[in-house]
Amino acid sequence: MSLILAGVALAVTVGAVIAVSTREARVALIGLVVTLGLGPFLADPLPEPAVLGVRVISGLLIVFVLQAVARGDHRGLGSRIGWPAEALLAGGAAITGLALGAGLGGIAGGAPDPPGGPNDLLIALTPAGLGLAAGLGSMAVGLAPALLGRSGLRVAIGLVVLCQGVILTRTGAAGTPGSLEQVGLAGLLLALGIAGGVLAARAVPAAPSGSELPVP
């Protein structure tokens, strides 16, 4: 179970890195589909099927809206520091998340030591740790485009990745949210994604090529 969850966490984090790194709008949206589509499954216990459906469909709806926006000329996508640096950033944050998850497990009087002893890597692969890893990883890469991005579409993608990161962090730290809260969180993601998308559709990119950092 932990290995499957680890795979999901890895996919979610990689999707977030792709979404904020690439200059191609379509590729960025594929990354977003992975992050938003698999994110709701990164929980133990899993939410009810209806709630999972709401979360996944709301994620797809966001991507659908952003895809309609991305048909226009949207310069300013992509990370100036490049995908390797973004991946390192996400990886560092994810390791922090795994450590936090292990710490939280200890506070809660969690799982017994794994067969390899307390220093075994497997001890960190708890559902809480994996949720925190994917959440903090997504937040780390989503923060800059959300707050400093100049292109409307980049801001929208950044906000959605950041919000998904917060939801995953919340799930990792405090357990699977209740059904009503999941619906509320899906509504929040939808509101941010659609508002960002509509603003992106009306925005004219301010920078010729894109990033949040000033051109030297």
Partner: protein, 504 residues
């Protein structure tokens, strides 16, 4: 059930109004109908109205009814005023969405759900009027700025709530009978500061005032109450309840953190009031007066006492109701006289006594008189939130409305300036209709004359709408929320029960 019914009417109605914004009449009918229905349902909210939904209690209360009724009436009257002064009523849809989401957020026991709904509703209220039906580059930039502020505030609050509910939070880690562990105390301090920072951003208090001041200046004036008024107040109400239940019951003193909050609050009160006095633009005066009110509301967070929380609730609700009246006055005054500088508005009250009457109500509500809920709340908040003699200094600064609103009123009864003199449509006119007795034909003639009479008197009617919003504001400021009718009382008690259960 009434809270859920209200949300089921307001949110879809608002979304439909937004989606049909390209056809203003259809949008107006859908939004207006939903708004009227919401108003009726809001009046039926009762304290005994408690419904469990998917494990979360949705609880009505008398305080929630006050908020919902005042807000719904304000939305409708502001939309009427906006249409009468020549706009399309574009605020109706976004405001309704924010209204529906916020009422549920205040009614539920789960702070995480509350912050999520409030942020989603806030995004709709802030961005909707800027993009529906069309927007320029400046409005788009303003929308992005507001969107970022909403997102940062909401997501920060969600992270703090997640920490509070985690094994490292006080529900699991605190010893109810012993001293607080230093690590937990640090966590409590950080969680407290995170939630207060979210409130500072959402309310637009100093130092996070830039987006709010820009929004009040450039966004449609009728959109300001839903974004910086009611919506922000609901966010602060949920945050106040979370602090009450998560942070305040622990024995951690958090003196350093509370001092930081008190400093931020004092800065907002003093500098916000000063900026409102120095500004000559009525929209800037509106924006900075909201910043000042936010400062006083923040004082509720700097003292962990039930009296300060109760006073904070009274202040928040009373002041946003009063500032809705000021926003309505700004909207109608600017459209009527075509100017936005105070210095160009000489004699405005003499030319439009209805607007003058509304403004006097706003002035009384903002300054307060002894016995009014907001007057008492302001005194309690400064006394409990700040040490002597700083409380007196801040209390004195909190009376800045005497200067910045008093100046506008004094100018209003001065010699009439040229732009004010040239303003048309300020006198009541009845054309093409003369009553001919209680006959059927006279009634038909009256009905037929109604559209023309409305058109001929649109500015007078808009002023009357602003007067009504101001009257509602004054009544809410006078009565406040009765202590026993805390809008989140039901939510709080459930959370406390959950806390006790987890500690066992």
């Amino acid at each position: 059930m009434s809270v859920l019914l209200l949300a089921a009417i307001a949110i879809p109605g608002g979304l439909l109004a937004m989606l049909t914004a390209a056809r203003p009449r259809v949008s107006l009918i859908l939004g207006g109908g939903s708004g009227l229905l919401s108003l009726v349902v809001a009046a039926s909210i009762r304290a005994s109205d408690t419904v469990p939904v998917a494990g979360i209690v949705v609880a009505g209360s008398d305080g929630l009814r006050t908020i919902a009724l005042s807000w719904a009436a304000g939305i409708l009257l502001l939309a009427v005023a906006e249409v009468l002064v020549g706009h399309t009523g574009r605020i109706l849809g976004p405001s309704l969405v924010a209204f529906g989401a916020s009422v549920v957020a205040v009614a539920v026991a789960d702070a995480g759900l509350g912050f999520a709904l409030l942020t989603a509703g806030g995004v709709a209220a802030a961005v909707g009027p800027l993009v529906v039906p069309a927007s320029g580059r400046e409005q788009t930039a303003l929308g992005l700025r507001a969107l970022r502020a909403m997102a940062v505030a909401g997501l920060t609050a969600l992270l703090a709530v997640a920490w509070g509910a985690s094994p490292a939070g006080p529900f699991a880690a605190a010893d109810p009978l012993g001293a607080v562990d230093p690590a937990l105390e640090m966590g409590l301090g950080l969680g407290f500061l995170a939630v207060v920072a979210a409130v500072v951003i959402r309310l637009g208090a100093i130092p996070a005032h830039a987006w709010a001041a820009r929004f009040a200046d450039s966004a449609p004036t009728a959109a300001v109450p839903a974004t910086l008024g009611w919506g922000a107040a609901a966010f602060a109400l949920v945050a106040l309840s979370w602090v009450d239940i998560t942070i305040a019951p622990t024995t951690a003193p958090l003196e350093g953190e509370r001092t930081v909050v008190a400093l931020v609050a004092a800065a907002s009160v003093i500098l916000g009031g000063l900026a409102a006095i120095l500004r000559d633009d009525i929209e800037h005066v509106l924006g900075y007066s909201i910043v000042q009110d936010a400062g006083i509301a923040l004082l509720a967070f700097s003292a962990f006492r039930p009296e300060s929380a109760s006073a904070g609730r009274d202040w928040l609700v009373g002041m946003v109701a009063v500032k809705s009246g000021l926003a309505a006055w700004v909207l109608v005054t600017r459209s009527t006289f075509g100017v936005r500088r105070v210095s160009e508005l000489r004699g405005w009250a003499r030319r439009s006594p209805i607007l003058g009457a509304g403004f006097v109500m706003v002035l009384i509500g903002a300054i307060g008189v002894p016995g009014m809920a907001t007057f008492t709340a302001r005194g309690v908040l400064t006394e409990l939130g700040l040490g002597s003699p700083f409380d007196l200094i801040v209390l004195l600064a909190a009376f800045a409305p005497v200067a910045y609103l008093g100046r506008i009123l004094v100018i209003g009864v001065d010699q009439v300036s040229e732009p004010v003199r040239l303003a048309q449509g300020l006198d009541v006119r009845v054309r093409g209709f003369s009553p001919g007795g209680w006959t059927g034909s006279a009634a038909v003639a009256a009905v037929r004359a109604l559209p023309e009479a409305t058109r001929a008197n649109r500015l007078v009617l808009a002023a009357a709408s602003a007067l009504l919003v101001a009257a509602i504001g004054l009544s809410v400021a006078a009565t406040g929320l009765v202590a026993s009718s805390d809008p989140r009382a039901g939510a709080g008690s459930d959370r406390e029960a959950a806390l006790v259960a987890s500690l066992r």
